[in-house]
């Protein structure tokens, strides 16, 4: 695997090289052969940082900064993989499809810096030919998407080892797109090529000075255009306001005439209202009287209703009496009929008895006392 950006060391001879993540740095001679004024290796893994420090301890102009580059300065957790080349602030995800025997063996807390703070710590002079190499295990998408244009423009060349797949989580393809947009926006011409073995790609970005000037001019032009547009809009608004005020004046004259006629109408209406109020007060007196009469009527009605109900109850009672009388009369009639029947029978029996009794009386008259005969009757 070729160390990213090493071609530029020989072909372009940069002044300063900043190397973020040294996972592919195995051939150190490459960095000794160039005409670099200053070489800065930024490596969060203490073991790798120590290796590089040991390797370059006698080489002037080489510094090793033991820190990680992230979106925010502070502290972060570095996932150390069994193959230390795959260590990252992000845990490996898609990488395992290609390198299944990758394990995070240990997690250590490391210091983090942003690209901006790194540039200020290293006092990067933007006017020099600076080379930035980024190989930070998936973090490049987040770092560059959040990097300021000023920080990126400190470098003439940026070489990034990345992937169009999500090798580390949770950075996303969208973040990758944002990274490319940020680089293009920062006036870099971007070239992408695939490494021989998937899943890595290398992105070479070359700062385009003409594009920067052009963009500045275009920016100024846009600003001027915007100001002209604003002025035109303002002048249009003023014209519109004048037209509106003229219309308002015209409308005002008509309104005054209208107001006068309305005032007259109002006076007439007020006098009408006054007469209506007078008649209303009279009517209200009448209404009160009528209400009083109605109340009396109501009371009378109530009373007559009470009387009526009383009469109804009395009538009902009379009917009941009548019915009872009728029943009694019927009973009486029946009893009288029975009495009549009995009387008739008695008359018949009496006649029979009378004839028999006469015989009997005649036979027993001598034995029966006078007092007993009278008590049977």
């Amino acid at each position: 695997m070729r160390i990213p950006g090493t071609d530029l060391l020989t072909s372009e001879e940069p002044d300063v090289m900043v190397y973020l993540g040294t996972r592919l740095v195995h051939d150190f001679s490459v960095f000794r052969s160039g005409n670099l004024e200053k070489t800065i290796f930024v490596e969060p893994d203490p073991v790798r940082a120590a290796n590089i420090r040991r390797e370059f301890e006698d080489t002037p102009g080489v510094a090793v900064l033991e820190t990680a580059i992230a979106c925010e300065p502070g502290r972060g957790i570095l996932n150390i993989a069994n193959n230390r080349r795959f260590s990252s602030l992000l845990p490996p995800t898609g990488l395992l499809e290609f390198y299944p025997n990758t394990r995070v063996t240990e997690s250590i807390e490391v210091e983090t810096q942003t690209l901006e703070t790194l540039c200020s710590i290293l006092a990067i002079d933007w006017q020099k030919n600076n080379l930035l190499i980024i190989d930070v295990g998936g973090m490049e998408k987040e770092i560059l998407a959040h990097a300021s244009m000023a920080a990126l423009q400190n470098f003439r060349w940026i070489v990034i080892r990345s992937s169009d797949l999500d090798l580390y989580g949770p950075a996303s393809v969208k973040a990758g797109q944002n990274m490319m947009d940020t680089l293009r926006h920062a006036a870099f011409t971007v070239f992408t090529w695939r490494e021989n073995t998937p899943p890595f790609i290398q992105i070479v970005c070359i700062k385009n000075d003409f594009q920067i000037e052009n963009e500045e001019l275009q920016g100024n032009l846009k600003e001027l255009g915007r100001q002209i547009e604003q002025l035109e809009a303002r002048s249009e608004e003023q014209k519109k306001m004048i037209r509106q005020s003229e219309e308002l004046l015209r409308a005002n004259a008509g309104l005054e005439v209208r107001l006068e006629s309305l005032t007259k109408q109002k006076t007439n209406l007020e006098s009408k209202v006054q007469s209506l109020e007078t008649s209303l007060s009279k009517k209200s007196v009448e209404v009160e009287e009528m209400q009083r009469a109605v109340r009396i009527n109501n009371k009378l009605m109530l009373k007559s209703n009470t009387d009526y109900k009383d009469l109804q109850s009395q009538y009902r009672k009379a009917l009941e009496h009548q019915d009872r009388q009728h029943v009694l009369l019927c009973e009486l009639k029946e009893k009288l009929a029975e009495a009549a029947k009995f009387y008739g029978r008695l008359n018949l029996e009496d006649a029979v008895l009378e004839s028999g009794s006469l015989d009997h009386e005649r036979s027993e008259r001598g034995s029966i006392p006078d007092g007993a005969e009278s008590s049977d009757h």
Partner: protein
């Protein structure tokens, strides 16, 4: 039907694993020999006079494509077949295009393992060692590139880890490719073990070679873990440092042996000197005795009476 194309880094003894593990379950491709000879022929044509260690990855001529496709197609049968060849590592894309349904098993090893095996197998020569390292870099780069571009069709396996757990091989093939390869009962693989001295020497030779470290770390990250040891991705310097104590102990042992040998040699030399002296003395005494015997004989011959007695003893 599925074809497994198995290849690996030279001097890593991956072929032994294939024969031990895959050979037990899967069948060889019916055109295994033809495929290997075609592959070798393609490489030989491309590299001309270069020997095999100097062969590097290349794109073969399109003219060979049809032949390769035909041979691959002739392997159609039931089950999983495999073709294992070291040279296939040089043009993986070519063999993938020969049959897009092929699956690839790519065996790699640490550079020091490969270099150590080379040192053990031949007389050490720095230029040859450098060529071995270059061959490792070429294959490793090619494997990584191919495996990352065709993740579902390829499997990267560390031979050294598989050596620690060979039985897991079938499980890995099944889970990754969905191919059923019956597992062979676990047994120790019979490939040679490296001495610490060799390993230390090999890793020392690689310390200055920064390319291998990066490549090997990425290969291990992209590989399928076979054994727990796969999860430790320590760098070459750490591995080298880890070997130091054992290396020093072995060196100390060798030094002790060497000193003992020197002592023994000195003792031997002394003994030899003593023996020589003894031989000289013996020779002196022998010469003296011989001289005395001559004198005695002449004395006997000169005295007449003694001569008669002697003659009489002979007659008796």
């Amino acid at each position: 039907m599925s074809n497994l194309i198995i290849t690996g880094i030279p001097y890593s003894y991956w072929c032994e694993i294939v024969l031990e593990q895959v050979g037990a379950g899967a069948q060889k491709h019916p055109r295994h020999a033809e495929l290997s000879s075609l592959c070798e022929q393609i490489c030989r044509d491309h590299h001309q006079a270069e020997d095999e260690l100097g062969w590097r990855s290349f794109v073969p001529d399109a003219a060979h494509a049809e032949q390769a496709e035909q041979l691959m197609r002739q392997g159609s049968g039931a089950g999983t077949t495999y073709w294992a060849d070291s040279n296939a590592a040089l043009n993986l894309d070519f063999w993938r295009e020969a049959d897009p349904d092929n699956f690839f098993i790519l065996f790699f090893s640490s550079p020091e393992w490969m270099l150590g095996n080379f040192i053990d197998s031949a007389l050490f020569h720095r230029i040859e060692a450098d060529r071995v390292v270059e061959a490792w870099i070429d294959r490793a780069r090619n494997f990584l590139q191919f495996a990352l571009n065709h993740r579902k069709q390829s499997l990267l396996i560390n031979v050294e880890s598989l050596g620690a757990d060979p039985a897991s091989f079938a499980t890995i093939i099944e889970s990754h490719f969905g191919l059923s390869v019956p597992a062979k009962p676990q047994q120790e693989l019979c490939y040679p073990r490296q001495s610490t001295v060799t390993r230390y020497v090999a890793s020392s030779l690689l310390l200055t070679e920064s390319r291998v470290s990066d490549l090997y770390d990425n290969l291990r990250s992209a590989s399928t873990a076979v054994h727990d040891q796969d999860h430790d991705i320590d760098n070459l310097h750490d591995r080298h440092d880890l070997l130091l104590d054992t290396f020093l102990n072995e060196v100390r042992g060798l030094r002790d042996q060497s000193e003992r040998l020197a002592e023994l040699e000195a003792e031997f030399s002394l003994k030899q000197q003593q023996v020589t002296k003894l031989l000289d003395e013996l020779e002196y005494y022998y010469t003296m005795s011989k001289k005395q015997a001559g004198m005695f004989t002449s004395y006997l011959e000169s005295e007449a009476l003694l001569r008669v007695a002697r003659w009489a003893r002979v007659i008796q």
